[in-house]
């Protein structure tokens, strides 16, 4: 289901919590599973839940509550552009519109070749660097002028 390497990282997460509180590792383990699989299907969620001795339904509740979990397949690169107000005052919406235009898709869509998914996000806690975007949840890109967006798309090609 998941590689030995991912499972070894699960164990490191579990070790952070008191022995009887394994469930505390659910967020980190779902994240690691998603990094390996790209998105979380029901089987993966159930597998992670079983690993942590918790009911699958409890793990599903967590996966649906936190919005960085992908509950549907996404492109190879998920680009989440912040359009919340502080960013919007400094070009956040323009950056999102520019990307939509370059990729030929609307917000929330994936390109036909399965390369890119474009979504908007709420505040990423980096408003001073606006416009900002997260690539696959874990890599933050700052000061995204059209030039830098072109460069980013080129790098990810």
């Amino acid at each position: 289901m998941l590689t030995q390497e991912t499972l070894a990282r699960f164990d490191r997460e579990v070790a952070k919590y008191p022995a009887e509180q394994k469930q505390s590792a659910i967020m980190a383990c779902l994240t690691l599973a998603q990094v390996e699989k790209g998105w979380l299907d029901k089987e993966t969620i159930a597998f992670v839940a079983a690993y942590l001795d918790m009911p699958a339904i409890a793990a599903e509740e967590v996966a649906t509550f936190y919005n960085m979990y992908n509950l549907k397949p996404v492109g190879k690169y998920k680009l989440a552009v912040c359009t919340c107000i502080p960013c919007a005052l400094s070009g956040g919406r323009d950056a999102a519109a520019y990307l939509a235009d370059r990729l030929g898709i609307k917000l929330g869509e994936t390109t036909a070749d399965g390369k890119f998914t474009l979504v908007e996000s709420e505040c990423q806690g980096a408003c001073g660097d606006a416009p900002v975007a997260l690539v696959n949840n874990h890599s933050m890109k700052s000061f995204l002028t059209p030039d830098k967006l072109d460069q980013l798309l080129e790098e990810l090609k």
């Binding site: 779902l30 936190y66 960085m68 709420e122 990423q124």
Partner: protein
């Protein structure tokens, strides 16, 4: 570098940018001396709490609750596990100070937490880190490994009788987890939904055990209070508002970014430090303490000093120190529309007034923005707000209502214009 400007800085004075986050650099600039001083001089836990009280450090997460007082609520001598938790779930629109602390000075947070654990008798701690700054979650784990290797964490810290374990936990995209009790549920591996307070975390916290939650900047201030002395820390700010504070400035200024200034500094000075208004345009309005704080028009804001008391007297809140600056080109209906969407999206849904109310607020502001508004909508908005305020489990309900009420109080004519002309007053 790391910080764009400062006046008599304390926390950021010796930051060295991305190259200086590691333990060697931190120790070279005086790091872990506060902890060593406490242990070597045998300063008792009550003594540490007394120092923090005297410094008048107030919670930097937004509510401004006196930190020393909160620490004194912990049943220090009660047997069994007790926890301290650092709140790095920074997600309030406009706030980005904790990210820089985590980026350039993670060991100041670690040292502050070790001192806090000593003072409160806590055995374990967690730092809950906003999922969006995952790169800094990884950096923090590396910093923890350094601190463990150096003997600052673990059993018998620096040969003392004191032991403390500290771990990192990350969020994954839920603003509400910044609310301290939602955060605790999230660490427990559940949906992050706020709990009723009281009981406060000091009596029923993580896994039901005594717990204290403090903001990243709050913990990071503690080593400096011990090193400088509480008196000096207090005097760096003003009466009832001890110390300097980081302010995050975003929006229509020339140089958005973080600035460290003494509490009590005039807003005009801060604006000037940030390079003034972008393109020399005119200041229209400021949201002074993160999106949850009421907006203030330019003339009122220009009279304020940046501290808890002055901003609250002006009818808003210092909050997390997130100053969102808007110039004359901004349409207030557009801004409120986007903000209302945020609260509607982020409501955790467990209280009806908040779940339904935030949805209504957004629907109505949205129809005003798109030219479908009706004259009676403005009073309806205010009535929805009064049905939310004070009737919810956590402060998110109020946080959704404050912007609506304050935008209507100060900029009602723009909303009326939108309803009447189906277009913006602002060109």
């Amino acid at each position: 570098m790391a910080i764009l400007g400062s006046i008599n800085p304390i926390m950021t004075a010796s930051w060295q940018g991305d190259a200086g986050w590691g333990i060697d650099a931190y120790i070279k600039r005086g790091g872990y001396e506060a902890l060593k001083k406490i242990l070597s001089e045998n300063i008792p836990p009550e003594g540490v709490i007394a120092e923090v009280k005297k410094s008048v450090l107030r919670g930097r997460g937004g509510a401004g609750f006196p930190t020393g007082l909160k620490w004194s609520f912990m049943p220090r001598t009660m047997p069994g596990d007790k926890y301290i938790v650092c709140n790095t779930d920074e997600g309030e629109p406009g706030t980005f100070k904790d990210r820089d602390i985590m980026r350039y000075d993670p060991h100041s947070v670690i040292e502050g937490m070790i001192i806090g654990a000593y003072a409160m008798g806590a055995t374990r701690g967690y730092n809950y880190i906003h999922g969006e700054i995952y790169e800094l979650y990884e950096r923090f784990e590396a910093a923890l490994a350094e601190a463990r290797a150096a003997g600052f964490l673990g059993q018998k810290i620096l040969g003392s009788e004191h032991s403390f374990e500290l771990f990192a936990h990350h969020g994954y995209g839920a603003y509400i987890c910044g609310e301290e009790t939602a955060l605790l549920d999230s660490i427990e591996g559940k949906k992050g939904q706020p709990r009723f307070k009281p009981p406060f975390p000091a009596s029923f916290g993580l896994y039901g055990r005594p717990t204290t939650v403090n903001n990243t900047e709050t913990f990071a201030s503690v080593p400096f209070i011990i090193r400088l002395g509480s008196e000096n820390f207090l005097n760096a700010g003003k009466e009832n508002n001890g110390g300097t504070k980081l302010f995050s400035i975003s929006g229509h200024v020339e140089r958005p970014g973080n600035y460290e200034i003494p509490l009590g500094t005039p807003f005009a000075t801060l604006l000037e430090m940030a390079g003034g208004m972008r393109g020399g345009r005119k200041l229209k309005a400021v949201i002074p303490g993160g999106s949850s704080s009421p907006v203030l028009p330019a003339d009122i804001m220009m009279q304020c000093t940046m501290d808890y008391d002055s901003i609250s007297k002006a009818g808003s809140m210092l909050g997390s120190g997130a100053v969102i600056v808007m110039d004359e080109t901004v349409c207030m209906v557009d801004v409120l529309n986007r903000l209302s969407f945020f609260y509607h999206e982020e409501s955790c849904g467990q209280c009806t007034p908040c779940r339904e109310g935030t949805n209504w607020l957004y629907q109505i502001v949205h129809r005003i923005e798109t030219g479908e508004g009706k004259p009676e909508d403005l009073d309806m908005l205010l009535s929805i707000c009064s049905n939310i305020c004070g009737r919810t489990i956590c402060a998110l309900g109020d946080a959704a209502a404050f912007p609506v009420m304050s935008f209507l109080k100060h900029f009602r004519s723009e909303f009326e214009y939108h309803i009447q002309h189906k277009t913006c007053l602002v060109p």
